[in-house]
């Protein structure tokens, strides 16, 4: 089947098998390997991307279901060499160690701030329960999200 998508601002058209998962399409067809597969059961969130602006786990949706959609992956966050505030937050606050969960964690965190720009630590913990991290114990991830929230609020206010 043919799919037409816009990924990180680039239009694409590809022939895919109807059974192909979106994450495999992104990784193997579009060659965007920043989105990871961690569990295949929607539990770990390593495969989280934005589909039409909302965070979605790309391991449990078919590529054909995303036909016509606008997709943003981790590779599409930085603009003109400038990191997204959430990427900066994770770097500044040591919000990652092995880095495998990080792309999904960042995509989910951006989604959280879109809906709640001024979250409490507890709200961040609850909002990220679809994303597992085995390395950090989460504390620095919470700080990373707060770092980004701060920065994004400040830049909006300015």
């Amino acid at each position: 089947m043919r799919v037409n998508l816009t990924i990180n601002g680039q239009k694409r058209e590809d022939e895919v098998e109807p059974r192909m998962l979106l994450v495999h399409y992104l990784r193997d067809v579009a060659q965007l390997t920043g989105t990871h597969v961690g569990c295949e059961t929607s539990m770990c969130g390593a495969c989280t991307i934005h589909l039409n602006g909302e965070a979605v786990k790309s391991c449990t949706i078919l590529a054909v279901q995303a036909d016509g959609a606008e997709i943003t992956t981790i590779e599409g966050l930085a603009k003109d060499g400038q990191l997204h505030p959430m990427q900066e937050g994770f770097w500044e606050e040591h919000g990652l160690q092995c880095g495998y969960c990080t792309p999904g964690m960042i995509m989910s965190s951006i989604h959280l701030l879109k809906h709640n720009p001024n979250p409490t630590d507890d709200e961040i913990r609850v909002a990220l329960e679809g994303n597992l991290c085995r390395c950090t114990g989460y504390q620095h991830i919470i700080k990373a999200v707060q770092h980004a929230a701060n920065k994004m609020r400040t830049s909006k206010a300015a």
Partner: protein, 779 residues
């Protein structure tokens, strides 16, 4: 010119991160090679079964299939999956099952096709006919008469039995006011790194060379073992650990799939990739812990512990992986913990069961030991009505006693256990908290305060302490090369996969040569580039890799000082490195640019007597002894008797890992460690049912904690440098895990004290706690 700051000891942002936060890192699954095929594996659905027949004919005809193989096709082609640890019975471990399957998840058939979907299609056409056999699930029944035998050639399910006798223990038991007996279960856990395992192999037929990319913690040891399994020269085999998404011990191993995928690439003369699915990861990547211990403690009324006796039953699983039978020995040797307990004896029975092998998992034997030691303190306190903090103080090895010989035969390097305990208790305001607990109990609220003082063993060395069959020892390698343009390349034999040595080592080298941290590039994980090294495990990265690095640094410093000395007319020992110059230590304004010294070394137009051209040094550091990090964790919890739910009100960790080079990274290691230790206490367990079926085969059932299941951690540190190495470091990778399990467990049990509940098995899930409260109320 701007002054270059010092980096060691500063909170430096990680140098690994730009690629990891931008999606541009390369994990095994991100490797794409021209003509690459995908391998998918059928695994045993049964714990124990005879394989009657395997029919591959339909699968071999399926679209896009390059080959389909079963164990019989590989007989004599690939050697046994290796175990280097000594044991009485070490079975042959085939890469694909032959004749029989022995655990759920054992590889049976592999299909290689143009992509993984087609390989899976082919596997759907494979017919395997099994006769189910009775399974050995309970390790305590594995040696009973009539138990099914897992490896017929041994006629028993015994792996090995070890005993450390000590007649003084029986004497102490006679003398003591009381002998306290209890049973401890350190349940089976899954390491579950977020990146499952994966292997890519490429055969370069013209060169007769094989390249293997694997998600491993030990690229060189893997190369040695693979070379043996595949009968290839180590000089024709290159192993690369690319970006590795966490290991926690389970990638300190050599797996069936590594030799299998390498063999397939050679056979098909095409690159082959295999990527583990999470289901496979939970079934067929090594598990940890799974030790049952029967304890007897001789103690006096004043809280003094006179002797410990432990009888262990340790579940090894169906086969022995790289270090499987060696892990329990740490539990035995370290079980006296921070305490000057004069007499110790233990006996360990290691058995086969129809389960995945156990092996190293973050802490590897020391979490079990710390749990035993810290339960001992609690049991003694409860028995004699003493404060658990006082019982610890009573038994602590005094700080004046270091280096301290222990009843387990170890020598602890340095420590100040009271200091860490006092600091942690102060951070929770212990006295006030005890009063609050009393008041809360009167109001029907159940607060618990849990303490755990731990000590652990890191940087295991000298090499004679490691298994004789292990190729490689307790040492580590490091190379430093100052390039002609003054940029510095560091080659390290450790293989970090999240720990951050690309940052820590760059900090050290930048300071040593007075250059910017951006001038240093740390390379690891490629056997064709870095000198033979041992890898990253056992909190050894900086503890053993760091001193190795400093040896090479000093070699180059000395050489450059010699060169500079001829140019500056100053003796070498009066020179130092600062701000990209070699300068007089007494007067840094008298200096020459570093680049000028580098030019002299590489250009060599004016030969310097006794100095070779180039700036390249390699060193191998053999540790003289182990290091012993320690600390105290304290948790305050509240248990809701209506639901059995535990809420963490406070979690305090005071850790002493010796000197701290990279404070931000140390914090990260402790946080992550605490999370995994709390997971053992509260949430995680690998469950096999009575037929040996794996119940926890996905993240739906295996409870890796989520962000809202874990508390905020308040950290503090004490600094007691290790005298063992030049850096004074002790290691920090596992400390958090070791301290946190008994801490959380003790807190919950303390909360349940009014109900008379003195013992529960981990994990302390709400349902279990609720049931215990209900039963206690009934009684």
């Amino acid at each position: 010119m701007p002054v270059i700051p010092k980096f060691v000891g500063e909170r430096i942002k990680r140098r690994e991160d730009p690629r990891l936060i931008s999606g541009t890192a390369t994990y095994v699954d991100d490797i794409k090679l021209v003509g690459m095929l995908s391998a998918v594996i059928i695994r045993s659905p049964y714990a124990h079964a005879k394989i009657n027949s395997v029919d591959l004919s339909k699968a071999r005809d399926a679209a896009g299939v390059a080959c389909v193989l079963s164990g019989n096709d590989l007989k004599d082609k690939i050697g046994s999956v290796p175990c280097v640890a000594p044991a009485e019975h070490v079975p042959f471990h085939p890469v694909l099952a032959i004749g029989k399957v022995r655990f759920v998840g054992e590889p049976v058939v592999v299909a290689v096709a143009s992509d993984s979907y087609k390989a899976q299609d082919a596997l759907d056409l494979v017919e395997v006919d099994y006769d189910m056999l009775e399974a050995v699930v309970d390790p305590e029944k594995a040696l009973e008469a009539g138990a099914p035998i897992i490896h017929e050639e041994f006629g028993t399910n015994l792996v090995t039995r070890a005993e450390v006798p000590n007649p003084a223990v029986a004497e102490a038991m006679k003398k003591a006011d009381k002998v306290i007996k209890f049973r401890i279960v350190n349940q089976r856990l899954a390491p579950a790194p977020m990146e499952p395992r994966g292997v890519v192999a490429q055969w370069h037929a013209g060169m007769q060379q094989l390249t293997v990319w694997s998600s491993t913690q030990i690229p060189h040891l893997l190369r040695s073992q693979l070379a043996e399994q595949l009968k290839i020269g180590e000089n024709k085999l290159r192993v690369i650990a690319p970006e590795v998404g966490g290991g926690f011990g389970c990638k300190l191993n050599v797996y069936a799939e590594e030799a299998l995928v390498a063999y397939l690439a050679m056979k098909l003369n095409r690159p082959v990739k295999w990527i583990e699915r999470r289901r496979e990861n939970l079934a067929a990547t090594t598990h940890g812990r799974d030790q049952i211990t029967y304890m007897e403690i001789a103690a006096n009324k004043d809280g003094e512990v006179l002797a410990m006796k432990g009888r262990f039953v340790c579940d090894m699983g169906a086969y022995l992986q790289l270090l499987t039978p060696v892990i329990p020995s740490f539990s035995g040797l370290m079980m006296t913990g921070c305490y000057k307990i004069p007499a110790l004896t233990f006996e360990q029975t290691l058995v086969f069961t129809n389960k995945m092998s156990t092996d190293a998992y973050r802490g590897a034997g020391r979490p079990e030991a710390a749990f035993i030691a810290e339960r001992t303190m609690e049991m003694v306190a409860a028995e004699f009505g003493l404060d658990p903090a006082d019982v610890r103080r009573k038994n602590f090895i005094a700080k004046e006693s270091f280096p301290a010989a222990t009843a387990g035969g170890l020598t602890y390097d340095s420590g100040d256990y009271n200091l860490a305990l006092d600091k942690a208790l102060e951070m929770v305001d212990y006295k006030k908290m005890r009063a609050e607990q009393e008041a809360a109990r009167r109001n029907g609220r159940y607060l618990g305060i849990g303490i755990a003082s731990y000590v652990e063993i890191c940087g295991i060395g000298p090499s004679s302490l490691l298994p004789p069959k292990l190729k490689g020892g307790g040492w580590e390698s490091a190379g430093v090369r100052i390039e002609p343009d003054s940029k510095i390349t560091v080659l390290t034999g450790v293989s970090p996969h999240g720990q951050g040595q690309e940052t820590t080592f760059a900090q050290m080298v930048a300071d040593a040569f007075g250059v910017d941290i951006d001038d240093v590039n740390v390379v690891h994980g490629d056997t064709a580039i870095v000198p033979y090294g041992i890898g990253t495990f056992g909190s050894r990265g900086t503890t053993v890799g760091g001193p190795a690095l400093m040896m090479s640094v000093v070699k180059l410093q000395d050489k450059m000082k010699k060169i500079a000395s001829t140019m500056m007319e100053a003796p070498p020992d009066q020179l130092t490195f600062v701000n990209r110059t070699v300068a007089l230590a007494s007067d840094p304004s008298k200096s020459i640019p570093l680049q000028q010294v580098i030019d002299a070394a590489y250009g060599y137009k004016t030969p310097i007597p006794g100095v070779e051209p180039g700036l390249d040094a390699t060193s191998f550091y053999e540790p003289s002894a182990c290091t012993f990090p320690f600390g105290t964790h304290v948790a305050v919890v509240e248990v809701d008797p209506q639901t059995g739910q535990t809420k963490f009100l406070k979690y305090v960790a005071v850790d002493d890992c010796g000197k701290i080079l990279s404070p931000l990274l140390v914090e990260g290691q402790i946080h992550g460690g605490i999370a995994q230790g709390l997971a053992q206490a509260m949430y995680e367990e690998v469950v096999y049912d009575e037929h040996g079926q794996l119940v926890t085969a996905s993240f739906m059932d295996y409870a890796v904690p989520k962000a809202d299941m874990l508390p905020h951690y308040d950290l503090a540190s004490t600094v007691t440098p290790s005298p063992v190495n030049s850096l004074g470091v002790k290691g920090v990778g596992e400390a958090g895990t070791i301290g946190s399990t008994p801490c959380a467990y003790n807190a919950v049990l303390d909360a349940l004290k009014p109900f008379g509940i003195r013992d529960l098995t981990m994990p302390l899930k709400p349902e279990k706690v609720w049931t215990a409260i209900r039963n206690a109320k009934k009684a």
